[in-house]
């Protein structure tokens, strides 16, 4: 092979998968149809909390085209278990979390608007909807508790018998006594109250599922929009009890975005698979956008009080945090770990903080379940840390950049007081580069110029850190995880030298088919188009943990590296026999195995062919074939970090915020494909700005979702942004063979505090909540004008 056709690590090669996506050739779950399929429609609760007295299905079952009408009682009769939360969290007193039952279809109680009451399966979707309208459900409406602020109060309606005071757990992390001692000697204390607004994930492709049952094989197949099909199969087998794993195949074909919301095992997919056997037909369901707002697990939704103890020079002495985290009406698949081990463990930020103590109460409310959403816990931690540090800087009269610099961690590894041990980083380098790219020094002049135009200009910093590469299995196991978080890979070299890579991580927008192929191309010295990446099918890939927490690079690709090591080692053995040389003398470089110091050698493809022909080596010593698998368990989390700078202008007359400049300087360790990485950064920033300025899921006092469409839930658009300026710094991650850290969530984590810090700078107040809508900003700006006039 010609080495010049190899795609090296670091090349911004175009995404292989985009051709099929942008020409309409992608195959998403909703594009698939199975012979004889029927369509499912879910009757959802219009009440936030109600007892189901009766469900009369007789009339609906008689409607034209109806194939089946099923309720929670049918599920229970078939012995199917409820949906699970896979991470056990213990309260301060050692008691395990108090989780209520979570049936896929409600049995006697509905607990949020959109909760699943029954499913109607019919020849067409419209016939199913017509029949659903004929279902007679008698509800006894119960008092609802949609409001997190009162859910734990005495006398509040109880959502699950298992969870008194609607409290799932009262958890703590850190050293309370050390923090109290820090506050006792503090020269200054900064306090902040934060609401981290609830968000709807809104992937471009809504969820969908097709369940099919083969009566001959007595086996199920479930096509579904999943970020982790193997985990879905495991949960459906081991916990829901649908079928043993060898009788259940889960396929997640092309998936159009997830942002976390497609990690979880939901009611609809479960019901489609189960119902397929029940009605003897493949059962298809595609979520409507309105249903997605109701039922896709939401993100964030924390209420937090933070207190920071500082000395007179602005050095942080201690940090105390109390957070109430909304779980919604049920514990979703990973809900419990998000506000605990993915949140409080990052409260040290980029700073050397000697003492941290955090308490988290997880609370049920009559709202949709809340679970991981792009960043999952880490955006909430970063928002708190970066807001309170910025506020402290303003209170102490220290420049926010200088304030950060005084507190940076500068020596690695660094053990924080909240479990994490940061392995590598250079925070000052990111800050310096970002400040230079932002022309931080020139800001006062730009502000003065804006003022002449009647605009209020502000600049805000965000020095985020996250823990990615989730995660060392033993470590997460000791913290309550129900599974290990290693990753698997298989490298199948075909006889003609092209390669199939099977990975247990899943691509749903991240570009794995390119990045992973790039790694193999560079390593084996073959063109990238001779590498195919296969994922998302439990019958093809033996096992894997899926994609979330920016783990596919650091963990998924590390598994591929391990498998490639084995391939190379075996190929060397085979090459040694053919070349009649000692194995130790074989070198592999630029796609060629050669005998050191000679011109004798074989191309990679020649060795591959020989491996399968098996004529030229003793098969008693070396097995034929060239196919190797590996499981990789990371030794640590990875710690991407960086500095984002947001510069914006507020129009005090309209309250409109215009972002005029955005600098992102990220340290992701080794970057395989900078174009894809930059794209991930762009998307993340857009989502983070959406949270800061526009997005908020709101329920009214009765628990009705009042932001249930794009009429009332504002998403960011291209016109809301300037061209982002993306820079990189690099410290290699020492915890995996490629030195990668992960880039998928960084933007969404970094952006919200950068925006709000910039707004605080522009408006001269720290009292700004997310989303900072024009109405809010206008009121603050007008109050400021009035105040200034009075002075």
């Amino acid at each position: 092979m010609n080495a010049s056709t190899v795609t090296p690590i670091g090349a911004p090669v175009r995404r292989k998968e985009d051709k099929r996506f942008i020409t309409g050739k992608g195959r998403y779950t909703d594009d698939l149809s199975r012979p004889g399929q029927a369509h499912a429609y879910f009757l959802r609760s219009p009440y936030a909390h109600a007892r189901i007295r009766t469900i009369d299905t007789a009339a609906a079952a008689e409607m034209p085209g109806v194939v089946g009408v099923l309720t929670g009682r049918d599920l229970a009769q078939d012995g199917l278990g409820g949906l699970i939360c896979g991470w056990m969290i213990n309260s301060k007193d050692g008691s395990p979390m108090r989780a209520g039952a979570h049936p896929a279809l409600a049995v006697d109680t509905v607990r949020y608007v959109g909760d699943h009451v029954a499913v109607v399966i019919a020849e067409t979707l419209n016939l199913a909807k017509d029949a659903a309208a004929a279902l007679a459900v008698e509800y006894e409406v119960l008092p609802a508790v949609p409001d997190l602020a009162v859910a734990q109060a005495q006398g509040a309606a109880q959502i699950h018998e298992a969870a008194p005071n609607n409290t799932v757990f009262e958890w703590e992390l850190g050293d309370r006594a050390a923090v109290e001692a820090a506050f006792a000697q503090a020269a200054h204390v900064t306090e902040i109250d934060i609401v981290n607004n609830r968000l709807a994930p809104n992937p471009m492709e809504p969820r969908a599922a097709i369940g099919e049952y083969d009566a001959g094989d007595e086996a199920y197949t479930l096509w579904t929009t999943s970020q982790n099909p193997h985990v879905a199969r495991l949960v459906l087998s081991a916990f829901v009890g649908l079928a043993p794993e060898n009788k259940l195949r889960v396929i997640a074909p092309d998936v159009g975005g997830g942002f976390g919301s497609k990690i979880f095992i939901y009611a609809e997919e479960t019901v489609c698979a189960w119902a397929a056997k029940k009605v003897g037909r493949p059962v298809k369901w595609t979520c409507e956008r309105g249903e997605a707002f109701l039922c896709d697990a939401h993100g964030r939704d924390h209420v937090t009080k933070g207190r920071l103890a500082l000395d007179a020079q602005g050095k942080i002495l201690g940090f105390q945090v109390k957070t109430i985290a909304n779980m919604g009406a049920y514990l979703s698949t990973f809900a419990s770990c998000v506000p605990t081990y993915l949140y409080a463990t990052l409260l040290s930020g980029q700073y050397a903080i000697p003492a941290i103590y955090c308490e988290v109460d997880a609370v049920y409310t009559n709202t949709a379940p809340v679970d991981a959403y792009r960043g999952a816990g880490r955006p909430e931690a970063t928002f708190l840390v970066e807001r309170i540090v910025d506020k402290a800087a303003r209170e102490l009269g220290i420049d926010p950049a200088e304030m950060r610099r005084r507190n940076f961690i500068t020596a690695f590894p660094h053990q924080t007081p909240v479990i994490m041990c940061y392995d590598a980083g250079d925070y000052a380098a990111s800050l310096d580069k970002a400040l230079e790219m932002a022309d931080y020094a020139g800001f006062p002049a730009r502000r003065a110029e804006a003022e002449r135009r009647g605009k209020l200009r502000g600049i805000g910093l965000s020095n985020y850190i996250e823990a990615c590469g989730i995660a060392p299995s033993a470590a997460v196991g000791s913290l309550g995880a129900g599974v290990g978080l290693w990753e698997s890979a298989e490298v199948r070299v075909n006889p003609t030298g092209n390669v199939e890579v099977l990975t247990g991580s899943h691509s749903h927008g991240q570009g794995h088919e390119t990045t992973f192929a790039q790694l193999v191309s560079a390593r084996l010295g073959i063109p990238i188009d001779q590498v195919t990446v296969i994922h998302g099918d439990t019958d093809k890939v033996q096992f894997g943990m899926g994609t979330y927490g920016s783990r596919s690079g650091a963990v998924g690709m590390s598994a591929i590296v391990k498998a490639l090591d084995k391939v190379e080692a075996k190929a060397k053995k085979i090459a040694a026999h053919i070349l009649e040389a000692s194995e130790g003398d074989i070198e592999f470089k630029d796609g060629r195995f050669s005998v050191a110091g000679t011109d004798r050698g074989l191309a990679f493809a020649e060795v591959a062919l020989n491996a399968y022909v098996a004529h030229k080596f003793p098969t008693s010593e070396i097995e034929p074939g060239l196919k190797e698998g590996a499981f990789y368990d990371p030794t640590n989390f990875t710690f991407p970090a960086g500095c984002h700078v947001c510069e914006l202008e507020v129009d005090p007359e309209t309250g409109t915020t215009e972002i005029v400049n955005w600098i992102a300087v990220d340290d992701f360790g080794t970057v395989i494909n900078p174009m894809i990485v930059e794209g991930q950064v762009h998307g993340g920033i857009a989502q983070g700005v959406g949270q800061a300025l526009m997005e908020r899921v709101a329920y009214d006092g009765e628990g009705q979702l009042v932001t249930g469409s794009y009429m009332d839930y504002q998403m960011p658009r291209a016109e809301d942004f300037p061209a982002f300026k993306v820079g990189m710094t690099e410290t290699r991650c020492p915890s995996n063979p490629l030195g990668m850290k992960g880039c998928g969530e960084a933007g969404a984590i970094a952006a919200p505090p950068a925006v709000i810090n910039a707004l605080a700078d522009a408006l001269g107040t720290q009292d700004i909540s997310m989303p900072a809508t024009p109405a809010k900003v206008w009121a603050i700006a007008q109050a400021r004008v009035t105040r200034q006039a009075a002075e």
């Binding site: 219009p46 659903a132 009765e702 979702l705 249930g708």
Partner: protein, 151 residues
């Protein structure tokens, strides 16, 4: 989602006549937009079937209507709740007061409604607008029918 509405109408009809009409299921059925059935099932209870269309959602509401705080001919409280199946539910009530004026009767109402499910998801602007329009339509129909009677 909670909605509140108020309004008043001047009717050129004697207060007793208005009161009678307000208690006449036939008259109410004529005036309630989309009302397909309305029949008295007890002294102060009626059964109703109303087709309502809000934005893209069209639903048949089956429900009950109750009359309370009867103070003939000065006014009453009318309330009801309807189940719209997959569209959600609506419930609400209105205080209706009748006052004698030089031209006839001044009808004033204060109504509040709660809606839930798919209807609520349509959003406050759409739903509140439709509710106000429906209330206006009812009282316009009612005023027109009354004027007809008077004529």
């Amino acid at each position: 989602m909670a909605l509140e509405m108020t309004g008043s109408y001047e009717l050129p009809v004697a207060r007793e006549k208005v009161w009678e009409a307000l208690n006449d299921p036939e008259m109410l059925k004529r005036c309630i937009p989309g009302c397909e059935e309305l029949e008295r099932v007890a002294d102060n209870e009626l059964r109703a079937l109303v087709v309502a269309k809000v934005g893209p959602v069209k639903a048949k509401f089956k429900g009950k209507v109750f009359l309370a705080d009867l103070d003939p001919p000065a006014g009453y409280r009318i309330s009801g709740e309807g189940d719209g199946g997959i569209a959600g539910f609506a419930k609400g009530g209105a205080r209706v007061d009748l006052a004698e004026t030089s031209v006839g009767t001044l009808l004033t109402y204060t109504a509040e409604a709660q809606i839930g499910g798919k209807l609520a998801q349509l959003g406050q602007r759409l739903v509140a607008g439709t509710a106000k329009k429906t209330a206006d339509e009812f009282f316009q129909n009612f005023a027109a029918a009354m004027t007809e009677t008077a004529g």
